[in-house]
Symmetry: C2
Subunit: 317 residues, 2 copies
DNA sequence: TTGTACGCGTTATCAA
DNA sequence: TTGATAACGCGTACAA
């Protein structure tokens, strides 16, 4: 594995001159520079990141920590982040589980975007306390260098339910996500708020964001013979599972039961009936967060806005 | 940010003794060790990865490089990889795009798993030539330290079509994935092989693995009024889009047109009709590959098997 | 059982 | 415009 030493020796210059040339410094003779670069290419030389990072205290890496790699929401947010980072010559490093905290603690990254409710507050606070910018998505955490980015889960669901109220629905159910999920709880808050304002009760059904849990909830509901006229689901995937279960039991959507979700995943337009939902532009969200992080790394003040969501009424309501 | 020097000073020992204690060496007095560890904890000390890596020439990181972060297949494979690596105290680092080749070239990882047809052969060969184990999934590449892991795309589709032939189907279509996709081409090979053996022609329809492309293909087919009796789709997602389009045009599945896919994604069981498909255990696949990589990193000879696939007949055929 | 000293590959300071 | 050299933080061979 060639080092800068090999390049310097072969070019007949000192290590420092080689370094200048390779880092595109202006204080090196054009001809010398040309030669050094040519030799570097010939030898297939690339700097050793560990050595460079040790010296410069920068890694050029941004960590993105997720709870799991699955799901249409994650993948879109990640894609947005990737685009923005790549445009700024930063590497995206996605990780999950124990590796996430290792990368944080051992300073392998310049900044982080956390989309994982399982990473401990302590680890996050400790990391940020050394001056590294840290964005937390859909999670609340206060501290120096910590920037939460929240979508308006509560307000959007509130507005959605209000519209349904105006349409005349009166009998509501909520199919939840995991009770520890921040976004689920805020969506539920908005749901309850809208109903309590008009003094309506509701049915609560436990789910966990997966298609499977939605399906099972539907089967249970059918057995119980107590199906709400309108079921708001904490996300699209569970809504799709729910609809499937109801349809298999000859329940017509939306004529017998109306269903809506949250996220506006692509699949929602390719099921029957097409799913009503609440949409966030996840790619855009990822881009905005990543760009704000880049600003911070460059000592600029970031411009972080709340991503705008919209209500999308299709055929399931 | 505390360094080992701070720990040593506060404990009143030399740096090397601190290092021994922190690395759990046996040659340090229990009491000294206890004290050092206590102080490290108190100071919230963690080693600087760059410094350690520079010295040991190991990073403890394994790179997983994907073309995009989306898709049910990727996420399952990644989860399998994550589990296996975490069990062996290795960090999983997932990346995509330009960052992937940077991480490879600048030696930020001990080994790599590549699931990305876009990463150049050159970069891969160069990286592996320095002794780093490199696994390529669903891609062929020969060279030292390079280990391809292929699923039997061709054989599985061949067997599937043979079964459909026995069931009596005679009029076949193939809804493809991207023509540059290795797995798509092999699936198509198996498809063609089965049909050519019995002297049957087929219709070719271009797609790109997405739900949207499947849907569009369906719409086109309906307009052309030339719909094959059986359509094999290069993956499940495009099959689901296709079915949706056909259903919207009052074409009954499987009575008018039978459809099958490949991958056995969860969603396939939650659409109507339930999708017939070919299944690989993707989590298991990821685990196997990661374990083989771990073996290689520990200078053991890996035991890498071809993941077993099975034919899953549900309601769409 | 503990300490001294060197070097990993790089960047950056200073002198030439 | 170039070169010698220190330093980043750590692990380890060797000496004590």
């Amino acid at each position: 594995m060639p080092t800068i030493k090999d390049v310097a020796k072969k070019a007949g210059v000192s290590i420092s001159t080689a370094s200048y040339a390779l880092n595109n410094q202006s204080n090196v003779h054009p001809e010398t520079k040309r030669k050094i670069l040519a030799i570097a290419k010939e030898l297939n030389y690339y700097p050793n990141a560990s050595a460079r990072n040790l010296k410069t205290k920068r890694t050029g890496n941004v960590g993105v920590f997720v709870y799991g790699f699955g799901g249409p929401v994650f993948s879109d947010v990640l894609e947005g982040i990737r685009q923005a980072l790549q445009a700024n010559d930063l590497n995206i490093i996605v990780s999950s589980g124990k590796a996430s905290s290792t990368l944080l603690k051992e300073r392998q990254i310049d900044g982080a975007i956390v989309f994982d409710g399982q990473l401990s507050d302590d680890t996050l606070l400790h990391y940020a306390s050394f001056g590294h910018p840290l964005f937390v998505l859909d999670r609340i955490l206060e501290g120096p260098n910590i920037y939460p980015s929240l979508i308006d889960n509560e307000g959007l669901v509130y507005r959605f339910i209000r519209e349904m109220l105006e349409k005349g629905y009166r009998d509501f159910g909520y199919l939840s996500g995991p009770t520890i999920a921040f976004n689920n709880n805020h969506r539920y808050d908005g749901f309850k708020q809208a109903l309590s304002e008009v003094g309506l009760p509701h049915t609560y059904i436990q789910g966990d964001f997966t298609i499977q849990s939605g399906y099972q909830a539907g089967i249970q509901l059918v057995h119980s013979k107590q199906i709400p006229r309108f079921i708001f689901c904490a996300n699209d995937e569970s809504a799709i599972g729910l609809i499937q279960a109801l349809k298999e039991n000859q329940i017509a959507i939306p004529d017998d039961v109306a269903v809506a979700g949250f996220d506006n995943i692509v699949l929602g337009s390719y099921v029957s009936p097409k799913l009503s939902t609440i949409g966030i532009d996840h790619i855009e969200w990822g881009k905005q967060v990543a760009n704000a992080l880049v600003d911070l790394l460059n000592d600029k003040t970031p411009d972080l806005q709340i991503p705008i969501g919209k209500i999308i009424l299709r055929d399931s309501t």
